[in-house]
């Protein structure tokens, strides 16, 4: 057993509340039945409660009374195995919703990852490679900077050079799920909402942050975005990607003072619909269902989720019938594409793939499954391509924009 004797700081990135949470876990097992990773892998040794109680043991051995008397003594092999397990998580946060003692797991795992990464554990090479790509291209896909705004140029909509309201595109929407960005911008334009877009956006920092990277690169990406948005006169900034939203709302402020308010684009569009500024004139006949993305429903574990707003938008479309899946709102399922899992454990991510969500959507009798997350959209369409489901899988604003 290789033992770490000195210099072990396992609580460096944990807040006081998180340290209390480690001690609050009663090992009741409620989280186990809700964890999508356990659902897929059937690995009952890597459950949220085991991760918490294991880390609690490590913290006690490194910082507790025994450590004060006999010195810290951590088994590096066990810590390495633990680090592998903690990266097998999408940070969907379902465990935190059902936890009877209210542990905020969504915040906890990235901070534990940060600690372990600094000690040299975890998928270090993959994270280093991601950081290097972000340093060069400022998007996680290693795609050309000049292609970032292609979707906007093709749209023939010109945002204002400066405005109080800014739409934050984000890398996923700019490079992959352009339909989402297009839907959002069409909705804003149809409502005559003045908006601007910071065309020199960098990555929001989420991919690195959730994987536990706390390097200067994260700060650099964030600072660039904040300064750029500020220079455009933005007082309210609305992203669409739920991961951008979560990190902009909860993490950016840890790096720099944010001179604008962060809201989600679905909140903005719902307000436009309710105020009558945005009207849907084309009816849609048939049933649709909606999938709540993890970071919109459960928030960053703080519950300030965007849940009813997309439903209000959908219900405003004439003729539409919105039906709910068995697991919706705070209990919606995760398709395995979040929390950095696609990068840290692509095989597990692919295995998770969202089959359960598609089955639940089919069971509602809906023709269309509406999504509000680029990673979910990509993953569910992958399932569609494998399973030949008749379900149409579309982004909610992309869908709604066609009914204007």
């Amino acid at each position: 057993m290789e033992v770490c004797k000195v210099g072990v700081d396992l609580i460096k990135h944990l807040t006081k509340r998180q340290l209390v949470e480690l001690d609050a876990c009663v090992h009741c097992g409620e989280c186990v039945g809700w964890c999508p990773v356990v659902d897929t892998s059937n690995n009952y040794q890597n459950t949220p409660m085991d991760k918490i109680t294991d880390y609690r043991s490590f913290v006690q051995v490194a910082h507790g009374l025994r450590a004060k008397i006999f010195g810290p003594s951590i088994d590096r092999e066990k810590l390495k195995q633990f680090a592998d397990d903690v990266y097998k998580c999408t940070t969907c946060g379902r465990c935190g919703v059902v936890c009877p003692v209210g542990i905020n797991c969504q915040e906890l795992w990235p901070d534990i990852r940060a600690t372990l990464l600094e000690m040299g554990f975890g998928p270090k090479e993959r994270i280093d490679s991601l950081r290097e790509v972000l340093e060069r291209k400022h998007n996680p896909f290693d795609l050309p900077r000049e292609d970032r705004n292609k979707w906007l140029k093709e749209l023939e909509i010109n945002p204002e050079p400066r405005a109080k309201f800014a739409f934050f595109t984000g890398c996923e929407l700019a490079y992959r799920t352009k339909g989402m960005a297009i839907g959002a911008v069409k909705a804003l334009t149809a409502a005559n909402e003045e908006f601007t877009i910071f065309e020199d956006e960098y990555c929001c920092g989420f991919p690195l942050y959730v994987l536990g990277d706390r390097s200067e690169e994260v700060k650099s990406e964030i600072l660039h975005n904040v300064e750029g948005l500020k220079a455009m006169g933005a007082e309210v900034v609305a992203p669409y990607c739920p991961c951008c939203f979560a990190v902009m709302k909860h993490i950016w402020k840890n790096y720099v003072e944010i001179p604008f308010k962060v809201v989600h684009i679905l909140e903005v569009v719902a307000d436009l619909v309710e105020s009558g500024r945005l009207k849907f004139t084309k009816p849609f006949s048939g049933k649709v269902t909606y999938h709540d993305p993890c970071y919109l429903s459960r928030g960053w574990g703080d519950g300030a989720g965007v849940i009813e707003q997309p439903r209000r938008i959908i219900n405003a479309i004439p003729g539409i019938e919105l039906v709910e899946m068995e697991h919706n709102r705070l209990h919606s399922r995760c398709p395995g594409s979040g929390g950095g899992l696609r990068r840290s454990n692509p095989e597990l991510s692919e295995e998770m793939a969202g089959y359960f969500i598609v089955k639940e959507a089919e069971a509602t009798g809906a023709k269309v499954l509406l999504t509000a997350c680029p990673a979910v959209n990509e993953r569910l369409n992958y399932v569609k391509s494998k399973n030949k489901t008749k379900l149409e899988i579309v982004d909610v604003l992309d869908f709604a924009a066609n009914q204007i």
Partner: protein, 262 residues
Amino acid sequence: MLVDQATREVFWNIPAQMQVFFYLAAGLTVLVFIAGFLGRISIWTKGKEDEFGRFGRLDFIRLAVTSFFSPDCILARRSFSIAAYRGVMLLFIIWGFTTLFAGTALLTIDHYAIKFLQGSVYFVYSLALDAAGALLLTGVLVALLRRYLVRSVSMVTSYEDSLFLFLLLAILLLGFSIEGIRISALKPEDFDYSPVGFLFSKIFGFEGDSLLALYRLLWTAHFALAFVFIAYLPFSKMFHLFAAQITVSAASRRYGGLQGGR
């Protein structure tokens, strides 16, 4: 004994030497508990600043006490939102435990300071503690049933889960047993207003020195296990007794209130 003189004799049938041993063991237990407790809470104070600002140990102790009396904790609302039986189980355990703890504290005050557990006050006290013991026993039995008989695939039981449930069960059964023996030996008026103790007294229906010797043996086992429980508590998952109410209160401010499973 006349009704208005009814009271609890502390250390009944316990010779002085055993009482000395009791106090020595109690002192050691308290020292170990305090060392563990402070060691655990000290870690909390080392975390990064958050909504707890610059909380020190005393702040966390105060928060743990005040949070305990919040509706979310004292009514186990989060557990009820998961499943009704879980809420009931937890309520029985919380109320049973708290009442027994308070009862022990009151008995200590009565024994060393002001005598007030007499007559009708004593009967209310005795009945309340018997009810609390019965509640706690029921809660523990439900927890054991859940872990060992009605198992779901998500129920993963560690040695600590087993240890504490069986420890609590043993402490409770021993406690009722020694109460039963005392009632059987003393035959107090109205069975001391201890219905559960009265039931246990039927098991120990014999008389004489062997009964008194059994009492001393079971009493020793009861307090030994209780002291093990207390001393080990801050080094185990049972420390959630102090942490969970803080996190439950913090969680109640999220998600617009309660959530839970369905």
